[in-house]
Amino acid sequence: MTTTTRTMDRLLFGDNQFFGVNHMSEEKARAQQMRFQDTDAIMSVLDAAYDEGVHTFMCTTHDRIAEVTDHVRAHPDRYSDMTFFPCMPYAHKYANAVTEDGFLGAIRKFLPEEGLLDSIARGTSSLARKDIEGVTTLLIDAEMKMFEGLDTPVIWLQNVVVDLLSGLGFTDAFRIFADHVRKRYNAEPGFITMNLPRLLDDLDKAGVENPIVCSNINKLGFRMSGGVDAYREAMDKRPFRAVAMSVYASGAIPPREAIEWVTSLPNLESIVFGASSRANIASTVSLVDEYWPQR
């Protein structure tokens, strides 16, 4: 299969701050939820990032992102260079549905209710044959709906799902995801994980070559299962495209120290970061300019 491989931007803008995800403090998380309850507030931070030259938005498939994508579609001139990296699924909505309706009920709930005969056929026969391929591809399509008409060169599978599948040894699912994302969206599959060395083995097994993998990479070793040394070795020796998240370890590492350390690692392609103010975005951009000028 041939896909055009594009290099990712060195800085990707994340969305945790918009939805009350903060690994350090529940209080801070709530303050952020209050601040960003109107999409206008999200857009003004995204605009600031865009104007600082950060054009890639790596976002979950949270319902409210649909309002962001609507806005971007409505203003094509303002956002001509804007790129989305969708991360799916937004796990909470599935987790709640599983508690309420069980696994099959939850899956049925998110499948398109009506639509092309093709989806109905894909869904029903797949459920009956206990073959996850049809259902999986339908769920991906449902999650991708909000990005229709926008540039989505990388599509991510969220870490809760990636790591659940990895632990179970359900590696076929990675190949199914990768194939569908490439075929249907002409996009590169990305995998987010908290267990980088282990996942690289799984992706090897699944036959996903030179995968894009995003994981926590920070000087503290925060949420780097397998340890900092194993991560360094993987980045040094294994063929994959590394994206670092949580480089500040939720604020535990001073920005300069964090960026200096992470940009010194071999074969890092991108850093995903979140910020709520233009000043903080600008500061990350200028640190990256300083320590990573070649990118």
Partner: protein, 371 residues
């Protein structure tokens, strides 16, 4: 290496299965669930050996340890069958519905020298462990007042019927949610002498409680428990503990711990008089495998290590979970007790008729400058 089996493939069961299968010391020998569909998919794609019948799995796969993550009302019977065969047991919380069962099963496990553990994962959260460490060091003196809270968005509308929506099968905010902060309270303060003022409130559910309030009485003070799982303002479950002592105050949640120490306190190493803040980033070590929080990995690792070593007493063993079960059952009983409240009608006539007047008069006097 140890041979482990898993029974029950709900949300908890599936995540336990994923973590335990990834554990370097574990050989997964069987998975059991009542619904064949998920089993067939797992067998097809991951090659695990699956069973629909627990006894068959225990006899054929012969696990040395089992993880039980079925609905609560099924726990007691399954635990008994495993213990009788000499199998170490990790069971999801709450342990059982009838506290008499927890006492019997605790005794059975002790008699057989088996390792037991219950999934009260908060005892493996860095911030909550730090609270325990500080209390053991007597950092804030005698605890006189405590508040334990749990909130989350579980039942937000009248819902369909599952095992979680019926009291008899272990459903309800008390069993499912309040159990967590109660387990922390019993860890920190021990078994209460009594409980009072218990209220189980149904908000959206027809048969079960969606909110819990109660007071636990200790020799030196009281602890309040408040829990509400119909709280849409929470993104996910949040559990908080606040403890007031003679020499300071501690607040903790999953992410951080705030400690205020008076100058009368014995200051632990690394702490100071006044405010101290520690974050999960510094209190947590990366586990061998991360799925949904370090504590979930850490508790399974603790079980595996103890089972391999035959260390029967340890964090969250049945004996400690039995204390939580006992308090849950006390709150349940207290909530339906008759004559346990002072109603406004029954309050002394004198107080009702004269107090408001007296208070207003006193307030006016105060306004006039005490004249």
């Amino acid at each position: 290496m140890i041979d482990v089996a898993v029974v029950g493939l709900g949300k908890m069961g599936l995540s336990h299965l994923s973590m335990i299968k990834a554990h370097p010391d574990v050989n997964l020998v069987g998975v059991c669930d009542a619904t064949g569909y998920l089993l067939d998919i797992l067998a097809k794609y991951t090659g695990v050996t699956t069973y629909k019948d627990l006894d068959k799995m225990l006899d054929e796969a012969r696990p040395q340890a089992i993880i039980i993550a079925t609905p609560t009302h099924l726990h007691a019977g399954m635990i008994r069958r495993a213990l009788e065969r000499g199998i170490h047991v990790f069971c999801e919380k709450p342990l059982v519905i009838d506290p008499a069962d927890s006492i019997e099963l605790t005794a059975l496990a002790e008699q057989k020298g088996l390792v037991t553990q219950v999934g009260y994962h908060n005892r493996f959260v860095g911030a909550f462990r730090e609270v325990k460490r500080l209390l053991d060091l007597d950092a804030i003196g005698t605890v006189n007042t405590a508040l334990a809270e749990a909130y989350g968005p579980v039942v937000l509308k009248p819902a369909g019927r599952t095992w979680r929506s019926e009291r008899a099968t272990g459903g309800g905010c008390l069993y499912d949610y309040a159990a967590h902060p109660l387990n922390l309270l019993t860890w920190y303060l021990g078994t209460p002498e009594s409980v009072s003022g218990s209220q189980l409130t149904s908000i959206f559910s027809a048969q079960i409680d969606d909110a819990v309030a109660s007071t636990l009485h200790y020799p030196d003070g009281t602890a309040q428990i408040i829990s509400n799982w119909s709280d849409e303002s929470q993104r996910k479950m949040t559990t908080k503990i606040t403890l007031w002592g003679t020499n300071g105050r501690i607040y903790a949640d999953r992410q951080e711990i705030h400690v205020y120490l008076r100058d009368t306190a014995t200051i632990p190493e690394g702490y100071r008089v006044g405010w101290n803040v520690r974050y999960t980033t510094e209190l947590t070590e990366a586990p061998w495998f991360y799925l949904r929080g370090e504590e979930y990995s850490a508790q399974l690792d603790s079980f595996v290590q103890r089972a391999q070593a035959g260390a029967s007493a340890g964090t969250n063993d049945f004996a400690s979970a039995a204390v939580t079960d006992r308090v849950i059952s006390m709150i349940s009983e207290d909530a339906v007790r008759e004559d346990s409240r002072l109603t406004s009608d029954a309050a002394s006539d004198l107080a009702v008729n004269t107090a408001p007047k007296g208070r207003i008069a006193a307030a006016l006097t105060a306004l006039r400058g005490g004249k």
